[in-house]
């Protein structure tokens, strides 16, 4: 444990120096130079003076993330990503020194709302980010909207959050809410189209987690699959957090359709894939398909080659080959000695979108309409590829990758087999 921490500290030191070099202006670098000759005190004073002369007013960000209960690791990952982004930027966005207030939503809408109210009333944050679970995003929607606080959703994927809905039920879009993750439509519908049209799959049986998001994913997949001539032969649902998946997988095996579409994530996905193998479904010719979370890093780290052959769709994969992803992975690995996951990417892009918008407003957060317009205009290359917001809904427009799980040299990864460009949520 000691050794690991020392190594981490050393890495941290190195990255901080690198970050410093990246973010400092040439003048600051020049001011730093004499320190090697021994005149440390005066150079430090010069640096501080230079910084004080240019720094804008402090910027307060509120991050509402789960740090306890089932989604704790997602919150940890998103916090790591946020911290890293700020570190690389010398802890400043648009020249404003940043303070991030992290609050734990504990996977409870009431707690999430209480903490959101704290951001609004007490901390008076300039911008809020975060939220993993869709019910919490829906719960805080009205509070955020009526406080006119800009909020960037960095995970919760319920469709309604960026759509116009009847009576705003269960939720609806708001000019103040942006999303840098996905809508469940985006990770579910395209793979349905893809399987029917490109893979020539005729029939699919669906098996999803029995809660709002699973049901939504199942419905969106069905739309995409059936509109291209596919047929759903049946469906099965498992309660969220089921202890034992073997009875369900036994039922999958007892029906004849070989292609299964699933939405599960985290521990459920692990148990599902393990049961799938224990009961010999691959040998019996069954094929696993699903929305990307079924085979994300957290799951593959546990099930490894047991997931081989599964086809899932997501807007990112750790193997995605582009310069931004490489830079992101390198920086993240150097800092934490860990591969980033999709949650880290979502949080990273939340910071990146905010950063760019703030640069456009020259750091101004007081004029909300100006900041909203700036966010709407943001376009950048994310680790996931080209990223921009749909101006009507504030949901991202992004490419969707079809990925197949393969194991090579002891590494189990999602290899990219196809891409569907610029997927936009149909919400208005």
């Amino acid at each position: 444990m000691g050794k690991r921490n020392d190594a981490a500290a050393e890495r941290g030191f190195r990255i901080s120096r690198r970050a410093f070099l990246i973010s400092s202006s040439a003048a600051a670098l020049a001011a730093c130079a004499p320190s090697t000759t021994g005149n440390a005190a005066s150079s430090a004073a010069a640096t501080t003076a230079a910084a004080a002369a240019t720094a804008g007013p402090p910027l307060k960000l509120g991050q509402l993330l789960p740090f306890t209960k089932v989604y704790a690791e997602l919150g940890n990952s998103m916090k790591r990503s946020t911290d890293l982004y700020l570190k690389l930027k010398g802890n400043k966005l648009a020249n404003r020194p940043v303070t991030v207030i992290y609050e734990d939503e504990a996977n409870d809408p009431q707690v999430g709302l209480a903490k959101t109210q704290k951001f609004i009333d007490q901390d008076k944050v300039d911008v809020m980010l975060g939220v993993v679970a869709t019910p919490i995003a829906y719960a805080i929607r009205n509070a955020v909207d009526s406080a006119k606080m800009i909020y960037i959703d960095t995970n919760a994927g319920g469709n309604a959050l960026t759509r116009t809905t009847n009576n705003c039920t269960p939720s609806c879009k708001s000019p103040y809410i942006f999303r840098t993750s996905f809508s469940s439509y985006q990770i579910s519908e395209p793979i349905g189209e893809y399987m029917a049209s490109k893979k020539g799959v005729k029939e699919v049986f669906t098996f999803v987690a029995d809660y709002g998001f699973g049901t939504e994913s199942q419905a969106d997949f069905t739309t995409g699959f059936t509109k291209n001539g596919g047929k759903i032969t049946g469906s099965l649902k498992a309660p969220l957090g089921s202890a034992d998946f073997v009875p369900f997988v036994t039922q999958l095996k007892a029906q004849p359709t070989k292609d299964i579409y699933s939405f599960f994530s985290g521990a459920d996905a692990v148990k599902y894939i393990q049961a799938w193998n224990q009961l010999g479904l691959p040998a019996a010719g069954y094929k696993m398909n699903g929305a990307g979370f079924l085979t994300e890093q957290d799951v593959l780290a546990v099930v490894k080659e047991q997931a081989n052959g599964a086809i899932t769709s997501l807007f990112w994969a750790v193997e995605l080959d582009n310069p931004e992803n490489k830079a992101f992975k390198d920086a993240y690995q150097k800092e934490y000695n860990l591969l980033p996951d999709v949650f880290a990417v979502q949080a990273w892009d939340g910071m990146q979108a905010l950063d760019l918008a703030l640069q456009a407003t020259k750091g101004d957060t007081s004029d909300k309409q100006k900041l909203i317009a700036a966010l709407e205009a943001v376009k950048f290359n994310s680790p996931r590829g080209a990223f921009e917001f749909d101006k009507d809904t504030h949901n991202p427009i992004q490419d969707m990758y079809m990925r197949e799980v393969k194991t090579a040299n002891g590494q189990t990864v999602n290899t990219i087999s196809d891409k569907i460009g610029r997927v936009t949520d149909p919400g208005k």
Binding site: Q122, T169, D210
Partner: protein, 316 residues
């Protein structure tokens, strides 16, 4: 009224007035608005915990399904107000009380035949079924995504939409519930409940219909939990299956125990302690571990809850 009762009444009234005017006298404090929100939530859970205390502390019925009535009341208030298109307080609050009481009648009818841990597990099981309905009846409750867009109520033209007005409403209801429970605890009915807790057989021998007595307490406690649930729906403008879930039942139970079961002030103190740790403590601290350590410390150092400890200290 005896002298000590009058002194107590004066203290309660003074504390209540101080609390009810908190948003006014704390207005210069930067955390005033946030603190007022937390106090509202503490009072809502104090009502919830006090209603459960009627069962756990007085009647000796350890219910681990009380969230069914809290959440049931919240859903009833939200759904009825929305379906009828009215924000009238008496309508939604009435629906919450009626809905929760009815639910408590059904659950209680089935559960009061069992005692001790069997009662505890039966209430847990029946509440989990209510949870399953809330979670799965998406058309009615919004399912796992929750029921959003609950309006804050109006009463005789007074709009409780502003946070400070809602604050007054919550304070007023909390006071009424506290007074009701005070009356109950000192009445012959309250003494009969304690009698059932202490020795049910003896009470039966004395001619009490103990089963009806227990059921009536169960329904009354359920109705009051429904009041808390309705207030929670107004406060958060959102109802979710979490409000019906085991976690909420356990939270209520724990609030009763750390404050001191069978005392009137105990559950209020318990609600304040638990919610402060969960919602005010900085998130860098491990809230669950703090909560656990606090529970252990209460048992080890403050036998019979905080109130018991204070009483002993006063006597000593």
């Amino acid at each position: 009224m005896s002298r000590s009762t009058r002194i107590r009444a004066a203290i309660v009234l003074a504390v209540w007035v101080a609390l009810a005017t908190f948003p006014e006298w704390s207005v210069a404090w930067e955390s005033s608005r946030f603190a007022a929100g937390i106090i509202r939530q503490i009072l809502i859970f104090a009502i919830f915990a006090s209603s459960l205390n009627l069962l756990v502390g007085y009647a000796g019925l350890p219910s681990l399904g009380h969230a069914a009535f809290f959440g049931g009341g919240a859903y009833a208030a939200a759904i009825v107000a929305q379906r009828l298109g009215t924000d009238e307080l008496l309508v939604s609050l009435g629906a919450a009380v009626a809905g929760a009481a009815l639910l408590a009648l059904v659950v209680g009818y089935l559960a009061v035949r069992a005692v001790g841990i069997f009662f505890l597990m039966l209430t847990l099981a029946l509440a989990q079924m209510v949870f399953a309905i809330a979670f799965q009846a998406t058309d009615l409750t919004g399912g796992s995504n929750g029921f959003s867009g609950v309006h804050r109520p109006v009463l005789l033209g007074i709009d409780f939409n502003a946070a400070n007005d809602l604050y007054l409403l919550v304070c007023a209801v909390a006071l009424l519930v506290a007074l009701l429970l005070w009356r109950l605890a000192t009445s012959s009915y309250g003494r009969a409940l304690v009698g059932v807790r202490e020795n049910e057989r003896r009470m039966r021998a004395l001619g009490y219909d103990t089963r009806t007595l227990k059921l009536s307490a169960f329904v009354l406690a359920g109705a009051l939990a429904g009041v808390a649930g309705a207030l929670s729906a107004y406060e958060f403008r959102f109802v979710s299956p979490n409000d019906v879930a085991l976690g909420t039942s356990v939270a209520g139970f724990v609030m009763v125990l750390i404050g001191g079961a069978g005392t009137l002030v105990g559950p209020i103190v318990g609600a304040a302690v638990v919610l402060s740790i969960e919602r005010v403590l900085p998130s860098q601290l491990p809230a669950q571990m703090v909560l656990g350590i606090v529970f252990i410390a209460f048992v080890v150092f403050a036998r019979q809850g905080l109130v018991g400890a204070v009483r002993r200290a006063v006597r000593a």
